[in-house]
């Protein structure tokens, strides 16, 4: 069910900030760019599900930063259709779940034209009894030339009782494609922790620093200072609550 249709006109640049889930269809026209920030502020008991479909025309660009951390049940699906040649997209996602939350993030990128590029960078952290689910699909249609698609997902588990699931999927029907994806689920790198400890940093501090770095690797790509501030505040609140 669609709540809103947005058209980003030829050659224009738009910034869109969503702080509540909306089901959107967005059409980005030729040479236009959209920078989309989703930072959902919700009640802890809410159960929500939303979906965004973004269609890109020739040489269009879609960049989005998603922070999913509120509500009891939070499902978000993002579908990016690279309909015409030279269109590109960058999807950055962060999900942070604790207590008994159930958070799911699904990113689908459809390469339907030549010379299209997609990149996904997702970081997730699960604590307590949270259940998280990440699904990322890079789909390349037949007879498409020069496609590049990458997807990197990393998840940290802070508790023995969390449940983290992910399915990074590739469906490729063209030859002239460079696609790769990587996914890890686990703990912080003990070599990095040890290194910090040998430099005098206590264990718990090292863990916090590394976990923060883990998320900020993505956040640091946000150019808009105000938006960055909002994202940072929310992430830091969660980290303080969950890491000591």
């Amino acid at each position: 069910m669609l709540d809103d249709t947005l058209i980003v006109k030829n050659g224009t640049l738009k910034i869109l900030i969503d702080d509540k889930p909306i089901n959107r269809q967005i059409n980005i026209q030729k040479n236009a760019k959209l920078f989309h920030f989703l930072i959902q502020n919700l009640n802890p008991t809410e159960q929500i599900s939303s979906e965004n479909i973004i269609n890109l025309q020739e040489n269009a660009y879609y960049e989005t930063f998603i922070l999913q951390t509120d509500a009891q049940k939070n499902n978000l699906k993002t579908v990016v259709n690279l309909l015409e040649k030279n269109s590109k997209t960058f999807i950055a996602g962060i999900y942070l779940a604790d207590q008994k939350q159930k958070i799911s993030m699904e990113n689908i990128v459809n390469h339907l034209a030549e010379n299209t590029v997609s990149e996904q960078q997702v970081r997730g952290i699960a604590n307590d009894f949270a259940q998280t689910y990440f699904a990322g699909l890079i789909n390349v249609a037949p007879n498409i030339k020069k496609v590049s698609g990458t997807q990197y997902h990393k998840a940290l588990m802070l508790s023995k009782t969390a449940d983290v699931k992910c399915i990074p999927e590739l469906a490729i029907a063209s030859e002239d494609v460079k696609c790769s994806h990587g996914s890890t689920i686990g703990m912080l790198d003990e070599n990095q922790i040890f290194y910090m400890q040998t430099r005098g940093i206590p264990l718990s501090d090292a863990q916090i620093i590394l976990t923060k770095a883990f998320i900020f690797e993505i956040l640091n790509k946000i150019n808009d200072q105000n938006v960055l501030k909002n994202f940072t505040q929310k992430v830091e609140t969660w980290l303080i609550k969950n890491m000591k």
């Binding site: 969390a162 990074p168 999927e169 590739l170 029907a173 030859e175 002239d176 994806h181 990587g182």
Partner: protein, 484 residues
């Protein structure tokens, strides 16, 4: 045939009966279809003990309550289970009498793969009248060597008679009949298969191969294999061969169960080339195999290595249940599809034991108009402390009409466990092709060279001879891909 040769032959074939390689030349068969009476008839004909009949009946009753599963990505025609012979279909009537009667494509394939003449007859289902003298005597000696070490390698039917306690203890322990529809059917009507037992502390000096069980190739559709490696033992088991496998029976539902105990290691290698049937792909084989190993012992290890080509629609997800502490599971696979073929393969690694680890390396090559899918599942259960998994799935696409799917599912329920997965999709670069051609290597040869290089990481886990055969098979299967 000269008189003395005839006598020699008679002697040898009688000896084979003695050693249990019974060539099933029964002319009577159970009536068509499946019901409790037929199952009782099968069990009776095989002279099975009551507990096994019981096992079959329980499975059958459960099967009747199940619905046949259907997967989204591939379709296969409806199977009428009442139109299948569940016991010794009269093969002689249907199979060709002479090599010359065979499909010329099949003969060409044998040539290319360098299959020796006598093997061709066997593989094509031509019942041997001129017995394979050499291989019969070879198998006889080889069986004697194994017996000296206490290694049991025989048919399941024979094992049921000679080693009932062993069979009873482990049959269904890794794949219970409740597991899935096809495993359930198999449990009710399985015909025969291999039974292997390696006693404590014994390393099998020879690779055990299904080829040595002469009639293994003609085994029916419901093959059941059980391999038990006791503490500190080792065995390498080979299944399949590069020559095209053909069978009148389109549906195969086999079950392979492997039990690995403390410090033991089992290597299970499969090289299979499924016969594509006629030009329209009719006659291709549908293969639903449940292959699972349970690494119950501490430091137990199970490696699955497979190279599969051909048009069969194969659902085969060799899995490891890593129960023991420090147990290790490995899966190395090359799936190659060309023309109109489909492959759907993958693995499941279920981690339960502390410090268990698993490695998955899956390479798939698609050419022509084919489709190749990898489906994986890695699960870390809550008890899998410090467990680790690493998976790498690479797809190589040749030509612009083929496709590849990678669907790896990862689930972690223990925060000290680690799962890491990487996948890439690429094509053979024009630069690589031209470089090889400039050195005198033709385009087709260049593609095989490059593809074999791509699969090297997997091929090195195959026992030597198998690896050589597999390499050859890959080259032959890729013919025409450069033009494609």
């Amino acid at each position: 045939m000269p008189e003395n040769l005839n006598a020699k032959l008679k002697n040898l074939t009688e000896n084979t009966y003695k050693y249990g390689f019974s060539i099933n030349l029964e002319n009577d068969s159970a009536p068509i279809g499946i019901n409790e009476n037929i199952i009782k008839l099968i069990s009776n004909k095989k002279n099975e003990p009551l507990w096994l009949l019981d096992f079959r009946l329980k499975a059958f009753r459960h099967w009747k309550s199940l619905k046949e599963p259907h997967w989204a990505k591939v379709t296969y025609p409806n199977i009428d289970y009442q139109k299948i012979y569940y016991y010794s279909a009269p093969k002689n009537l249907k199979s060709p009498k002479k090599l010359q009667d065979l499909d010329p494509e099949l003969l060409k394939m044998y040539d290319k793969l360098g299959v020796p003449l006598h093997e061709r007859e066997n593989l094509a289902g031509i019942t041997a009248v001129d017995a394979v003298l050499d291989s019969v005597s070879v198998t006889t000696t080889f069986k004697e060597n194994l017996a000296k070490l206490g290694i049991i390698f025989c048919s399941i039917s024979e094992a049921v008679q000679k080693y009932p306690d062993l069979v009873k203890k482990y049959l269904g322990s890794v794949v219970p009949y409740t597991d899935n529809f096809f495993a359930c059917l198999n449990s009710a009507v399985f015909s025969d298969g291999s039974f292997v037992y390696i006693p404590k502390g014994v390393r099998s000096p020879i690779e055990l191969s299904t080829y040595f069980r002469i009639n293994a190739i003609n085994t029916g559709q419901f093959e059941r294999t059980l391999i038990i490696a006791d503490d500190d033992s080792y065995v390498s088991y080979l299944e399949g061969c590069t020559a095209p496998q053909r069978d009148e029976n389109q549906l195969h539902a086999a079950v392979v169960e492997i039990v690995v105990m403390n410090n033991a290691e089992v290597k299970y290698s499969t090289v299979q080339n499924w016969f594509p049937g006629d030009k329209n792909g009719i006659g291709g084989i549908y293969n639903f195999v449940t292959k699972r190993g349970s690494c119950i012992g501490e430091k137990s290890k199970l490696s699955w290595t497979q190279v599969e080509t051909g048009s069969a629609i194969t659902w085969k997800y060799p899995s490891c249940i890593l129960k023991g502490k420090n147990s290790v599971g490995e899966f190395f696979s090359v799936a190659l599809t060309n023309n109109l073929q489909q492959a759907d393969t993958g693995t499941k690694m279920i981690h339960i034991g502390e410090n268990s680890s698993s490695t998955i390396i899956a390479k798939s090559i698609s050419a022509g108009k084919s489709l190749s899918a990898y489906r994986g599942m890695v699960k870390m259960s809550p008890q899998a402390i410090n467990a680790q998994n690493f998976s790498k799935c690479d797809n190589l696409l040749i030509g612009n009409k083929c496709s590849a799917y990678t669907i790896p599912v990862m689930q972690n329920l223990n925060n000290s466990a680690r799962i890491a997965h990487e996948a890439t999709t690429s094509k053979i670069s024009e630069e690589q092709l031209f470089y090889c051609q400039q050195r005198g290597i033709s385009a087709d040869d260049a593609i095989s060279l490059i593809v074999n290089g791509f699969c090297k990481e997997v091929m090195k886990h195959l026992p030597m001879e198998f690896a050589v055969e597999a390499s050859r098979l890959i080259s032959v299967s890729l013919e025409g891909a450069s033009v494609g």
